[in-house]
Each structure stands twice: as C-alpha cells, then as structure tokens.
C-alpha cells in the first residue's frame, strides 16, 4: 500500500495490518453542501469494476412530526480521525480501491445529504459490504450530533448504534 511504503517509519499500533491510505482515502467534515458526483469522482478508477455509494438524506418527518430543519455539530478533528480509522478498518477487512466519506455540519435542508460514502472496488461484493460497514461504523463511533427542529420544539437525536470502544461514564 502506497501509504505504508512512503512512510516506513510510521508504526501502526492498532491490531489491524491495514491503514488509512492518504492517496486513495478521502474524508471530510464540512459545512458546505455535499456532492454525490464529487464523491463518485474521488473514488473513480479505471481499475475498479464497481462503485457503491451511500447517501444519508435528511427526512421530512420523525415519529409523524414534521421536521423543519436539521443542524449537525461535529467534534471535527476527532471526527476526521475516526473517519480515517473507518477507512483503515475497511482496508483490513475488504479489498477496495478508493474510499470517500464526507459528512456535513451546520444546517442541512430536508432532502439534502448529510453524509456520503463512496467505495470503489474491483469486485462488487467488497464495495457493497464496505459501504455498509462504513455507515454502520460512522453511526457508532464518529462524534457528530444531529438536532432536529420541529414546529413544536427540538430534539438531539441519539444513534442506537453508539458504542464507543471504551466507555468512561462510570
């Protein structure tokens, strides 16, 4: 892997043998609108036979209540680090070409994507599985918060998947 070869002094202390590949893995946490086309182009490769994308879209309702607006807040540097960890984990589990994971912050209008994951792979199964792992893991580990604003109040959502590897509360 290019990233490993180009920096032989780097020691990967995680159990995984693979790591974030800065030439082929792209992560971002941004207040700008996300573009599916940009994610697709980021992972496009003529060596890849498959590109899988997943877009998380802000829905117009929750429990029957109309959602007026959504706001995302991120612990940006840690979120970036966790997104890179997800790339590493994907590379330790599947043979993929390129990975892009973009998450938006701030106000996201209904119908717009809040997160986009794109994975290119030689064969389709690895890309499809990696994209699914990516969004599942993002919801479980990446420190980003969503507040839904309704006509009658607001609510900080909580992912049921949240499971930090070391709990510190008690």
């Amino acid at each position: 892997m290019a990233g490993i070869q180009s920096d032989p002094s780097a020691v990967d202390t995680r159990s995984s043998a693979s790591k974030f590949d800065p030439q082929n893995d792209f992560v971002n946490v941004t207040s700008e609108a996300l573009s599916l086309d940009a994610a697709y182009k980021a992972v496009h490769s003529t060596a890849a036979g498959a590109i899988t994308t997943f877009s998380g879209i802000t829905r117009d309702n929750f429990d029957g209540k109309k959602v007026v607006r959504l706001e995302y807040e991120a612990y940006a540097p840690m979120a970036i680090a966790k997104l890179k960890d997800i790339c590493s984990e994907i590379r330790s589990k599947w043979d993929v070409c390129k990975i892009a994971i973009f998450h938006r912050t701030g106000v996201v209008d209904v119908g717009e994507p809040s997160v986009i994951i794109a994975v290119s792979s030689v064969h389709r199964a690895s890309g499809l599985e990696a994209a699914r792992f990516g969004i599942d893991e993002l919801k479980a580990t990446v420190p980003i918060w969503k507040k839904e604003l309704y006509e009658s109040g607001d609510l900080w959502k909580e992912n049921s998947e949240f499971k930090p590897k070391a709990a510190s509360g008690d």
């Binding site: 919801k139 918060w145 900080w156 909580e158 992912n159």
Partner: protein, 85 residues
C-alpha cells in the same frame, strides 16, 4: 497543597447547551482521573446531571475510560450520545 495542572475541556451538543460553553481551560490536581473531572463538572453545571449517565469522555480525540489519569495539556471532550449519519 498538591500540584495542579491545566486541561482543556470541550462541550458538545447537549453538554454544550447544559454548560452554556463550548470549551474552557480547567485547573485540576495532578493525578485526577477523567471520571473525577467529570464529577467536578457535574457539580459546577447541575444541568449536566440529566445526561451524566449517557456521557462518554474522549481524551486527546480518543474515547477513554473514566479511570484514565489526566496529564497536563490534555484535551478532554464530553461526548453525549452521537447522532451522525
């Protein structure tokens, strides 16, 4: 009197709303654990009590156990249940 040190504390989402702050510099005794710091913060900001049981801590951008002993200059973040995606 025991020696003191400073750590940076970050508040996000409901923790930010409960404290009315996004970050601060806190002076704590040497040897303070993450859990002990959190208990101090809950006393200072009673509104943190209602999310206390679901808060997780991160030290220097890694999820950490409450028993972790803090060091001078550590960045400690109060992480309410996340909801990205």
């Amino acid at each position: 009197r025991r020696a003191h040190m400073r750590v940076k504390v970050l508040y996000f989402a409901r923790a930010r709303e409960a404290t009315g702050s996004t970050e601060e510099s806190a002076e704590i005794e040497n040897g303070t654990t993450a859990k002990a710091l959190l208990e101090t913060l809950v006393r200072r900001f009673p509104k943190l009590q209602e999310i206390r049981s679901c808060l997780v801590l991160a030290i220097n951008q890694e999820y950490a156990d409450g028993s972790a002993v803090l060091k001078e200059g550590d960045e400690v973040a109060l992480i309410p249940p996340i909801s990205g995606g």
